[in-house]
């Protein structure tokens, strides 16, 4: 059921990207899709009544990990993937917004249908 809500968030972002005419709204749709995908990856690795995958003094017994920690910790692998994805989304947002600003400087509008009709 939670997966269905996360998928609905992704579909709302896809609708915003495909249907809207304003360029900045399209960028916002891409951003919503990225949030939904990162959320989905972390939801896959969750364990009910789990602990964060960080070892502190309570998880160590004489230099070895306790059984409790190994049995209840959350999956660290999707968190590594999502950490990478979040930083990359910031870089690609900067690139897309710079293209939008250049198009506005040249054509004077954010509307993509107007850009098709104007001649250079």
């Amino acid at each position: 059921m939670i997966y269905a809500l996360c998928f609905l968030l992704f579909m709302i972002g896809l609708y915003c990207t495909v249907v809207k005419k304003n360029m900045v709204k399209i960028v916002l749709g891409i951003l919503v899709m990225e949030y939904a995908v990162n959320l989905f990856l972390i939801l896959l690795g969750f364990r009910t009544k789990g602990v964060a995958p960080i070892i502190d003094r309570h998880a160590l017994e004489g230099g070895q990990l306790t059984e409790l920690f190994v049995n209840t910790s959350v999956d660290p692998l999707p968190q590594a993937l999502v950490l990478t994805a979040i930083v990359i989304s910031l870089g690609s947002l900067a690139l897309i917004i710079s293209v939008c600003i250049r198009i506005y400087n040249k054509y004077g509008t954010f509307d993509i249908t107007q850009i098709r009709r104007l001649k250079g």
Partner: protein, 159 residues
């Protein structure tokens, strides 16, 4: 662009130092507590961006000139790759081999101490440096070019 009001300027001149120290803490302790190179670098960049938003762009460029920022960007990436290539000479000859941990630190008992985990804190520092310089460069350059209409651009060019 001009700065903001007196209250904002006074508070931000104190708070930017706190944000800077917090960013350095998140980078350095990345192998012991949540954080690491990427969020720490972004926090460092946001301390300079606070300076740019509250005062003016020239004030931020006095502290961190753009040429120095682009050099730090390249130096951070180069040092990252250099440390990875040094792993080819030790132990099993693998790219990104954690040679500091396996050769030198494995004998000592360094669990949960600051100097542990070999080259992981060094990677964090280089990545933090690179991300800070990159994001500061991007936002300063974005604030130099405004989205203007083509007619306004003609006026600027004729001056």
């Amino acid at each position: 662009m001009k700065g903001m009001t007196v209250i904002v300027k006074t508070i931000s001149s104190w708070v930017k130092i706190l944000i800077f120290i917090f960013g350095i803490y998140i980078i350095l302790f990345g192998h012991l507590s949540p954080g690491g190179g990427f969020p720490g670098g972004v926090i460092l960049a946001s301390s300079f961006i606070l300076l740019m938003l509250a005062f003016s762009r020239q004030e931020a460029e006095k502290y961190f000139p753009l040429s120095v920022a682009s050099k730090f960007d390249c130096i951070g990436a180069l040092l990252f790759i250099l440390l990875a290539l040094m792993g080819l000479g030790f132990g099993i000859n693998a790219f990104f081999w954690n040679f500091l941990q396996q050769e030198y630190l494995a004998a000592h008992e360094t669990v949960l101490k600051l100097i542990s985990a070999g080259s992981i804190p060094l990677y964090n520092i280089f990545i933090g440096l690179k991300v800070c310089a990159s994001l500061f460069l991007v936002i300063v350059v974005l604030s130099m070019t405004r989205p203007e209409l083509p007619s306004e651009q003609e006026q600027h060019l004729e001056e």
